[in-house]
């Protein structure tokens, strides 16, 4: 897969949809193209978050540690982004991500991503849009649970 294909893939993500084409190409270039075999771990719960991964092909399992052992909570596949929250804050990974099929990813370094945000306001809007959509979604969920709790 060459750089231009990777740029196309990034473009399809809401996070990067509104970024300048040349900046996006630079982001792709400074990111590492990485492959994982099934069973290999991208990152562990509790690790410091230093990068996000864009899945170019393949699938991953997302799992969290519980006293009863790890529980699979979600899966992700082509054209999705994993661990993106780590790009925006200094937190730790909240889940473990494992490749479940031969996986091809683009590893986006946190510092490079932040530099790009500074240079490219249009992309910042894209990110804000994604975050606010999620927040709306979460608020709605919370309201639903709350009303369910109160009526109960």
């Amino acid at each position: 897969m060459i750089l231009d294909d990777e740029v196309r893939c990034l473009r399809s993500l809401p996070f990067f949809a509104s970024a300048d084409p040349s900046k996006l190409k630079r982001l792709a270039f400074t990111s590492d193209h990485m492959r994982f075999a099934p069973g290999q771990v991208l990152f562990h719960e509790g690790d410091p978050g230093d990068a996000a991964y864009v899945i170019l092909s393949g699938t991953v399992d997302v799992s969290v540690e519980t006293p009863q052992g790890p529980i699979k909570v979600a899966t992700a596949d082509r054209n999705s982004i994993i661990g993106e929250i780590a790009l925006l804050n200094d937190g730790y990974r909240t889940a473990t991500v494992t490749a479940s099929a031969p996986l091809e990813t683009l590893r986006i370094d946190k510092h490079e991503f932040l530099n790009l945000m500074k240079d490219c306001p249009s992309m910042m809007f894209g990110v804000l849009k994604v975050l606010s959509t999620r927040l709306t979604h979460t608020t709605m969920e919370l309201a639903k649970h709350k009303s369910a709790h109160e009526t109960a």
Binding site: L3, S22, K25, R26, H33
Partner: protein
Amino acid sequence: MEKSLSRYIWKHTWRQQIVILTIVAVSMIPYFLSLDLPKQIINGPIQGDGFGTPDSLQPFFEVGFDLPLIGHLNIYAGYPLDRLSMLMALSLEFLALVVINNGFKYVINTYKGRLGERLLRRIRFQLIDRVLRFPPSYFKRTKSSEVATMIKDEVEPLGGFAGDAFVAPAMLGGQVVAALAFILAQNFWLGMIAVGMAMLQLGIIPRMRRRLIRLGRQRQLTARRLAGRVGEMVEGITTIHAYDTSNYERADMAKRLGEIFAIRYDLYQWKFMVKFINNFLAQVTPFLFYSIGGYLTLKGSLDVGQLVAVINAYKELPSPLKDLIDWDQGRQDVQVKFEQVVEQFQSDGILPERIQSVFTDVPPPLPGPLTASRLTLNDDSGGRLAHEVSLEIGKGETVAFLDLNGSTAVAVAEAFGRAIWQTSGKVSLGDMDILDLPESTTGRRISYVSTETYFFDGSLRDNLLYGLKHAPLKPAVREGQRAARRRWEIKEAALAGNVDFDTEGEWISVAGQTTIADDEILREWMLSALDTVLLSEDIFDLGMRSVVDPQQRETIARFAIDARKTLRGELIELDLPQLVVPFEFDAYNSEATIAENLLFGALIGGDAAARTIISSAYFRSIVSEDGLAEQLFEMGRKIVATMVELFGDEQQNNPLLPEMLLLEDREVPEYVRIQKEVEGKRLSEANEEQRRVLFLTAFSYVESRFRFGVLTNEIRAKIVKARHRFYENLPPNLQALIARYNEAEYQSSATLLENIVFGKISRVYADSHSRILSLIKKLAMEQNLYDDLLTVGLDFQVGPGGKRLTILQRQKLNVARAIIRRGDYYTLNQPLPGLNPNLQAQLVKNVISFLRSHSNGCTIIWVLSNPRLSNHFERIVIFDHGEVRANGSHDDLMGAEDGVLNELIVR
């Protein structure tokens, strides 16, 4: 140390000083003979005195003295010679005297030089010896580079002076007295004038020079401080860069240099002023002779002959007088320097010599318990660290120290490790104060590790074994010239009051015995200690990255070659062959640069060799065939264009710029310019610079890294063909720069890892590097060679202060260095701060079980930064605000009502 330099010199060199005075006295005889000889030659054979007739003879080399009372004493009547023979004989005598005089000069100067150098060596050694015996507090106030400059530079002139310390005043003084006596004999009053003026000179000039001495002292101090600051600047260079304070440093340095300049300029002005007055005084005397002497002559009370004799005699006087005054200045100068240095090397708490005396036997096990009684510790400013702490730690206990508030645990541990000394109270072992015990006992039976790590420039092995080198046990075996050289070294060391321990000899003994530990034992110790602190993987990695001499380590080289095949087999078996792209002569390697693909060999001499080959006419001719050059030029153009698209708006080089753009230290705007210039041009139309840039860019392109999609299969095939052509007629001068990859041969210029992998590790596959390493480890273990590979890593050079290792590696090595020692007490003072909690727990467990099994019945005291780990210890002592707050077993403290331990753990 003696404060008066003259006394110091006399004390250590009086024998040599007497010898040299004697030699100087003896040398005067031929010297005076040679002064008289020219007159004899001219008056005798040349002018014909005593050779009245052609056949008259005169005695040659008549020896005799006119003695009072006895009369003329004739020792040798002389050999009769005629005029011509006499001329020749006297001339030959003159020649002989020239040789003898210069011979004496040579002997005297060498002797003085040697004496001075020995004294210098003695002073330096004494200063170093004192540095080694200073109390720890001294080093909190002293800059290391200041100490270095004192030992190296400031005492240097002392050596030059020592040879002249007594000889010069004796000789020069003698000459002055002789000349003055002669003048006095000619005419009393003129003589008194000369004496008066000489006294004036001797009185005034040294007085004026006092200011010079004061300035000299200032110069010495400012220069020393400059050295201290320069040292500080170098050590703190990362801080300077981090906070952009380089200009502040420049300002400070410029100010200091200005101060030094001002002092030196002042010094010069005054110095030449003194010189002026000195010269004036010296030359005003002839004026007095001419005027007063002339007046006396005119009046008839002095005859002309006497006046001329006096003036001639006086001519002889100024030079020894001036030299004498100069000598005196030199003496005062070095005296001041000496005092300044000696003052700095005085300290109240200096350790007595017996504490550090050499002890080659096995020290007896230390008695128990380790007791702190009413121990009070203060920091430098007088702040209280511990207040009357009393504590007893029995033999064989495993104790954790914890701090609730303050840093008392750390301080008490430091006192146990003798890193700080108490203000009052004491630390004792059984009934002995630990500060009174010789270091040969405490330094061997007690191991202390703190957060601070210090490593000496050298190999990892040297540093790991450092804590075992206590006393010279056996000198190294030498033969022939080296043995003679060693005997000479020992003799000289004794003459300069130095020690003559053999650094190349054996220093390490088997624990608890006097037998010397051999390499096999040492290796086992090192590897087990490294394993305990979880450092083996790192060492293995370091070993893999190092260049190994295949002749010296034959088994490893053979293993590397065999492992090429077995590793590939393993990878295929694991279904991971894609992790390594092997070097194959007939295939393009997509993980390597185009240049690497063209050259296909290990470079001997690194990048410089690559540059030489690439710019050679032979290489150019290879590339220009087949139309490859044009295609590479086009590729370069496309890559530069993409790079400009990506980074063209940057005015400065982005740290993420690929290495290729930085090849020649060019800035991004230059690439923008070149890209515009070459637009639409073909290779034949481009100039040298444009070609160079485009080719170099193309050469450093790696498809898998850059993913620009510019490398077609056609170009790949052409590159492989060019590679074949390159090796067909490789000229000998290029052969010396590159070794073609050969599956069956060890590549001595490549690292061990490169040799084993024999290809490129793919950068696309996650964890490929560590997977390969663990596979190699597995292979090595199967062949019982893992330990050998680890020892390669032990040769890694750690750099000054161990700076080539990471902080974590340094901390682990610090612990390893302590536990490799067999002793009775181990104090670990927060040795691994900031380590992740899981690893920390693992390490604490490992170290405790290692010490339990290796050092029977030893006591372990561990100051923990993480209270959760306290469950690994038998007893826990919790300090709070300088006092002991709780003391008991883990279970007791957890169950205690006040719950201090619980509070610590939860917080």
